[in-house]
């Protein structure tokens, strides 16, 4: 029974992730691609060696982009659905839809925005190919730290709630999260490999479009998955209510 519910939620999470990925793909294509093209034009104007094109720009900006964004959506949708199965009924008095939306907001913050503020998305021609190993390690480390700190803050909030009340406990846990993230920012090395003559406007627009993609992805995921999860779970709630009533009667 429980296993069936978990499977149903996992499948719906991946489908909601796919749907959210389609919307994010539209945003990536309309807002992001012009910036990528402009950055590649800058790169080509400044480099004298011409690399062999393995995959054409036409494929990279359509089918390639779609592969990346859709698989990203499905994979994170699946993980988010599993996290939802854990969070449901454990993070406070929230129903399925509210839990889904809260979880999506937390995921946007912990998986994307917090790492982004330290190591933001970069367009082509920003970044030294020789440091790709270090930059990748630092980025994934920041992402892992941020997710772990968000989980720790949630647990802290739940522990404090009986003493401080829900509101104050949430504020205290959020403050602890901000302080811990600030410490991580302070101790992890900075990366700045933007070429001196790279357009500031282009960099800003590229990063804004990168944020827009994530905002659309997680908003759509929270709403779609919340709706689907709500339809999977009412049967369970009724069963639980019947059990409670039976227990009370005996």
């Amino acid at each position: 029974m429980n296993s069936v519910t978990i499977r149903a939620l996992l499948v719906r999470g991946m489908l909601a992730g796919l749907a959210a990925g389609v919307l994010a793909l539209v945003v990536a294509f309309l807002l992001g691609e012009p910036q990528v093209d402009a950055a590649i034009a800058f790169e080509e104007a400044h480099s004298h060696e011409h690399e062999m094109e393995v995959v054409s720009r036409g494929l990279q900006s359509t089918a390639g982009l779609a592969t990346g964004v859709l698989v990203y959506g499905v994979a994170l949708g699946g993980i988010a659905a599993l996290a939802f199965c854990f969070a449901l009924g454990r993070i406070g008095r929230f129903g399925a839809r509210a839990t889904a939306v809260l979880l999506s907001g937390a995921a946007l913050l912990a998986v994307y925005l917090v790492p982004f503020l330290k190591y933001p998305a970069n367009p082509p021609s920003v970044g030294d190919p020789d440091t790709i190993g270090t930059r990748t390690t630092l980025y994934f480390l920041m992402m892992l730290l941020s997710v772990l700190l968000a989980v720790a803050a949630t647990i802290l909030g739940r522990r404090l709630a009986p003493k401080l009340g829900n509101w104050n406990a949430t504020v205290a846990a959020a403050a602890a999260f901000v302080v811990a993230v600030g410490l991580a920012y302070a101790f992890l090395p900075a990366v700045n490999e933007v070429p001196a003559d790279f357009s500031a406007t282009l960099l800003w627009q590229f990063r804004l479009s990168a944020i827009a993609i994530q905002l659309v992805l997680w908003t759509a995921f929270g709403l779609v998955f919340g709706h689907l999860a709500e339809r999977v779970l009412p049967a369970r709630q009724e069963a639980a209510a019947t059990e409670r009533a039976a227990a009370a009667a005996s």
Partner: protein
């Protein structure tokens, strides 16, 4: 007598937690599978390579930049 005690109103809105024992195998197997997918989208043939060549890197190139992963 006890029958007159109705379950709290919030009981209908707050779903019961799913047991961790039922969740663990799903979380382990599918969690790892999803992370492998993310690895191929985000980092394969960039910082580390399981497959030789640059085909994967070049194919997901634009997605990698726009999703915030360090690409090259």
């Amino acid at each position: 007598m006890a029958q007159t005690i109705a379950p709290p109103a919030t009981g209908a809105v707050t779903p019961a937690p799913l047991p961790l024992k039922a969740l663990a195998p799903w979380a382990l197997f599918f969690g790892v599978l999803m992370l492998v997918l993310l690895y191929f989208i985000g980092a394969e043939q960039g910082a580390t390579s399981l497959l030789s060549g640059t085909d994967v890197h070049e194919w997901v190139h634009d997605g990698r930049h726009l999703l915030g992963f360090p690409c090259h």
